[in-house]
Symmetry: C2
DNA sequence: ACAGAGGATTCTGCTATGAAGAACAAGCCG
DNA sequence: CGGCTTGTTCTTCATAGCAGAATCCTCTGT
């Protein structure tokens, strides 16, 4: 039996156990979770709230808690995302210096995107760091360019109704999404105004990794600071940044031993 | 921005953040982790120990901490493992009553097995509950029957040297493993004496899920209570249990809406 | 081969956090 | 619509988790 550490952290242990229970056994109510861990319902509720906050759990419309994206996504390719992050960081810094707003890289993971790199702008009033966090792909300016480059079959599979059981309310109108992605494909970028968060505007462009557009770069800013005449500069800067990252990444990927 | 809960648990937050950092950025040293979380090195060490204990991290030979099986396995099919667990539990209880020892069900996940259901025997001196825990497939009596039923190409991929970077010492001798699996295939079960844990003997048999042998049932007991003349009864009881689980599972899977 | 530096791990004392319980809110069922 | 159960919020206090110190381990340079 694996040995419990000498200086175990009880609250951490409860949280990790609970994450594993959700992963292995499926959705749990607060009361069931409390019983399983032998803690009070209020304690179980706090633990579940933390798991939700960090994307290890999500709450369904039935009020039960389900395994969240962090523990149900195919997170393989960790070396790959580490490389992408490493290559991207200096370019994001250049992009932030150029446009004066926060910049991010994200990857597609199932029907979510995962923020894997962030550089914040120096502005006091800015969009903060979201590294590691997960958002629905169809709601983000980075997710849309990636979805746009999938085949129709791949998108049909991602948005099939049975895949969204337990989270039906979050599934988008597929026809509307297809129309929106057609615009994104034509323009070469996506723009989100007050979509993932109130008061935030983001512009995103796809990033090719090998043969696929499985990553994206975005610039985000408070909506009050966004004006239409800034769009051309931001789109231009994004194009440069994605080109440079793709170029450096290609060099790195050639040098790396890869399996999959 | 996702809102931090009103009654956030700081130590839980640190642990979950750290797990995500390992997943997204790759291996971290204790000192790097402490810096990232802005905590003392002793605190970071305790957090990492908890992540290792619950399989969210593992420590490499270079002393750095890597994402562990829980957050790097393809854990999709949670509904599927939940169904398998649900169907298996009563049969495991019958099996435990029959042979008087603990019984488990596990699934193959990459080159690991995951314990998804356990019923402990009533004996005071018994093998305890390991639900949720993860062990190398080639070291377990349940993992071997599953590995035995993979194609040679699938096994070659699972045990390719590049897949075991950072954990070379744990990769088995492939030729020896092939010979052992041939015996397992011929016999129809695997037996482990003092392998995954000192003082524990386990016997395991593969469980078909749909077209694949992607699960297994095992019986485990303290080695001191195992005698060769019990083997026939245990193997027979395992055969009955796996047959019954497969039968009930087939009924359930027909009734379930499935995607993949 | 050895010494020094840096990182990892263990241990201890103290205080800030996490636990339970109470109270309140929400949802479901008869 | 009322009663019951579950989910959520808030408060108080005991202890668990924190940092710092000490020790151990590993690596590198001379």
């Amino acid at each position: 039996m694996k040995n419990k550490p000498h200086y175990a952290l009880q609250s951490v242990d409860h949280a990790l156990q609970l994450a594993v229970i959700l992963q292995v056994e499926g959705p749990q109510s607060v009361t069931e979770a409390a019983r399983r861990l032998d803690v009070a319902r209020s304690t179980a509720h706090r633990l579940l709230s933390m798991l939700v906050y960090r994307d290890f759990a999500r709450q369904g419309p039935d009020r039960r808690y389900y395994a969240g994206p962090v523990i149900s996504l195919e997170a393989g390719g960790s070396d790959h995302t580490a490389v992408l992050r490493d290559v991207s960081m200096p370019h994001l810094q250049v992009l932030v210096d150029r446009v004066g707003e926060s910049a991010n890289v994200m990857v597609l993971a199932g029907d979510y995107v995962r923020f894997i790199a962030s550089v914040e702008s120096r502005e006091t009033f800015r969009v903060g760091n979201r590294e590691g966090m997960v958002f629905p792909a169809h709601l983000t300016s980075g997710g849309k360019p990636m979805l746009a480059e999938l085949s129709p079959e791949e998108r049909a599979e991602l948005y099939a109704p049975e895949r969204w059981e337990g989270r039906e309310a979050e599934r988008p109108d597929v026809a509307a999404l297809e129309r929106e992605l057609e615009v994104v494909r034509r323009r070469g970028f996506a723009i989100n105004r007050d979509r993932t968060e109130t008061g935030v505007t983001a512009i995103g462009r796809g990033l090719r990794v090998g043969e696929r557009t499985s990553a994206a770069v975005t610039v985000s800013m408070p909506t009050v600071r966004f004006q239409e005449d800034r769009l051309v500069d931001i789109v231009s800067a994004l194009a440069l940044a994605t080109r440079d990252i793709e170029h450096d990444l290609e060099g790195r990927l050639h040098a790396e031993r890869r399996w999959s």
